[in-house]
């Protein structure tokens, strides 16, 4: 086992990794930018090294400084958390080359998963269901029509360089393709400066279902159940739960089997997440593999009892998985709310001084956060400041507990998404589990009406 690990991240995930190390008896090195000198993750670690100015490109993403910090402190391994360098294949490769263990997938895994079209192709070759779409960019209207016919209507045209809903066109019929293609191309060009457009099967109100997997060096893989992350705002997850209320036991087994098959197909190692789209008819389609620990990993920990960060570290240290698939037992139900420092109306980041911070407590409540009273939310990074996680014997209890904990949570001095979460958890459709990825936009639209 490692004696010392450098944690190449900040905020709650850095503290999360440091806590796991402390419980394993491993010394920790925190890195930080000049904006985070007084942060909890810095104080929690055994050692700390300033790696640059506030801009993450010059500090948390500064590969020479991060590796140099590992070198001068004698850290044997680096945990990248999520974001920053976590899915940087080059970084993983350099770590390997200088003998510092990268705690995560291999650099080959990361490179392949970063090329989504290629990853899909590999999985499709294995005979697994993937999201139908054009293989790449569409050069003209007739290519678009051909692809749409192959994929089946309705389809959605998307800007390659796009995101956030711009440059998208839903097409329901053949005779709409030409005009939609031109419009999408024009909008793509004017918005992103690149007219490239591709096409995918369009699903009405799908759910986002993902499967947590672990894979050790010896080829043993286990699946730790699914997470339902359908509560999103512009592809940003806000609430996650496990098990999914839309997945029954038969579907769960089937999705799990496909996820493990996909992982094996790409020779994946360490913790990873296989993302699926689930349509209204219970068909599911492989989308991609997230080659990192994810923000929402705690809900899987709550229902399995397995500490995913410790498993990541053990796998990276070359240890075999200590359990098999049949040892995994899903107990109860868990929710996570991502509390962001954002204005609740426009979702613009809202940094500042937290004048009072009082997390909720008691049975079945977990808070992952590096905040405390008088913490400063700096404007340079992600606005996630706390993850509120509840666990209950069943969905109703976990949900009631979340409502109670949300009411109890006090964060003063800055605006947060707490009020929005309270609203989501008091929504009747959400309570019934009848949601899709369009749930949140609809809720917000109803609010403004």
């Amino acid at each position: 086992m490692f004696k010392k690990i450098l944690v190449a991240n900040r905020g709650e995930i850095a503290l999360r990794v440091i806590r796991a190390c402390q419980e394993l008896g491993i010394k920790t090195v925190a890195i930080h930018s000049e904006a985070d000198t007084h942060s909890w993750h810095v104080r929690a670690a055994d050692e700390h090294v300033c790696v640059g100015p506030p801009e993450d490109a010059l500090s948390y993403r500064n590969i020479p400084n991060v590796l140099s910090a590992a070198e001068i402190t004698g850290a044997e391994a680096i945990h990248p958390g999520y974001g920053f360098l976590s899915e940087n294949a080059h970084f993983a490769e350099v770590c390997e080359s200088i003998g510092v263990k990268f705690i995560g997938p291999t650099s080959e895994n990361i490179a392949l998963m970063g090329d989504k079209a290629k990853a899909r192709e590999v999985v499709a070759r294995r005979g697994l269901p993937v999201l139908p779409g054009s293989p790449g960019e569409l050069r003209n209207e007739s290519e678009a029509l051909e692809a749409a016919r192959k994929v089946g209507f309705p389809v959605i045209l998307k800007a390659s360089a796009g995101g956030g809903g711009r440059g998208m066109r839903v097409v329901n019929k053949e005779d709409e393709v030409a005009r939609a293609f031109q419009a999408a191309q024009a909008e793509a060009k004017s918005t992103f400066g690149h007219e490239g457009v591709y096409l995918e099967r369009y699903f009405l109100e799908p759910r986002h279902i993902e499967v947590q997997v672990l894979a050790d060096d010896r080829g043993r893989v286990v699946c730790l159940g699914e997470r339902d992350c359908s509560i999103q705002r512009r592809y940003q997850k806000l609430v996650e739960e496990t098990p999914s209320p839309a997945v029954n036991e038969a579907l769960r087994r089937e999705i799990g089997r496909v996820a493990l098959d996909a992982i094996k197909a790409v020779h994946y190692r360490n913790a990873g997440t296989v993302e699926f789209l689930l349509d209204k008819d219970q068909n599911f389609y492989f989308m991609e593999v997230n080659a990192r620990i994810q923000v929402e990993h705690p809900i899987t920990e709550m229902v399995t009892g397995i500490d995913l960060i410790k498993e990541q570290i053990r796998i990276a240290a070359g240890l075999p998985l200590a359990f098999r698939q049949q040892d995994i037992r899903i107990t109860g139900h868990s929710f996570e709310c991502r509390i962001n420092a954002e204005c609740p109306e426009k979702f613009t980041p809202c940094p500042g001084l937290v004048t009072h911070y009082r997390p909720p407590g008691g049975f079945g409540v977990r808070v992952d956060s590096a905040m405390e009273s008088h913490s400063q939310v700096v404007p340079h990074y992600d606005s996630l400041i706390a993850k509120l996680i509840t666990h209950g014997q069943n969905r109703e209890e976990a949900m009631a507990r979340m409502r109670r904990a949300l009411d109890e949570f006090v964060i003063e001095g800055i605006k947060t998404t707490l009020p929005l979460h309270r609203r989501i958890f008091s929504d009747a459709e959400f309570q019934k589990g009848r949601v899709s990825t369009s749930f949140l936009e609809r809720l917000l639209t109803n609010q403004s009406n």
Partner: protein, 160 residues
């Protein structure tokens, strides 16, 4: 003074309140007669608990401006502090046998090499950013330094 007959009113108190808030104090006590000042600053910002860190990494001064976005030399009572632009190991001389680049008291020119910071087997020469006299060498040779750590104090206006 605060609200006496002459009509001096609450202005000074509001100023003190602003002072309190601006500095995140929780308490501020002022006495005039016997010069009494009492400030209270109860915050979550605790001192670093990493005891062992002090041995390995000399802690950067806590007064360092958090908003500083570039490793600019900070003025310290008219002096210029040369800080490390990278993380690495500090060497005062180009090789173990060689003389140090500079000693305290030396006059240096802008662009003159003051030391080496080694990172990932690469030797990075750190140059003086001003003409002046080396007043103090702030880091120990062969020891690790972090980003922004003060290495030299240079007086840009030497008397000779």
């Amino acid at each position: 003074m605060l609200n006496d007959a002459s009509g001096e009113q609450l202005g000074p108190i509001q100023e003190l309140i602003d002072l309190l808030k601006r500095n995140n104090l929780t308490e501020l006590e002022v006495e005039r007669g016997g010069f009494r000042v009492r400030l209270r600053h109860e915050t979550g910002t605790r001192p670093a608990v990493a005891a062992s860190a002090a041995d390995v990494i000399p802690a950067a001064p806590h007064t360092r401006a958090e908003s500083a976005s570039m490793p600019l030399p900070a003025e310290t009572a008219g002096k210029v502090t040369i800080t490390s632009p990278i993380v690495g190991t500090f060497y005062r001389s180009p090789s173990p046998d060689a003389d140090p680049y500079v000693e305290e008291g030396d006059l240096v020119k802008k662009g003159q090499v003051l030391c080496i910071v080694e990172a990932m087997k690469l030797m990075n020469e750190i140059e003086s950013e001003v003409d002046g006299r080396v007043v103090k060498i702030l880091a120990e040779s062969t020891k690790p330094v972090e980003y922004g750590q003060p290495l030299f104090l240079v007086d840009p206006t030497p008397t000779s």
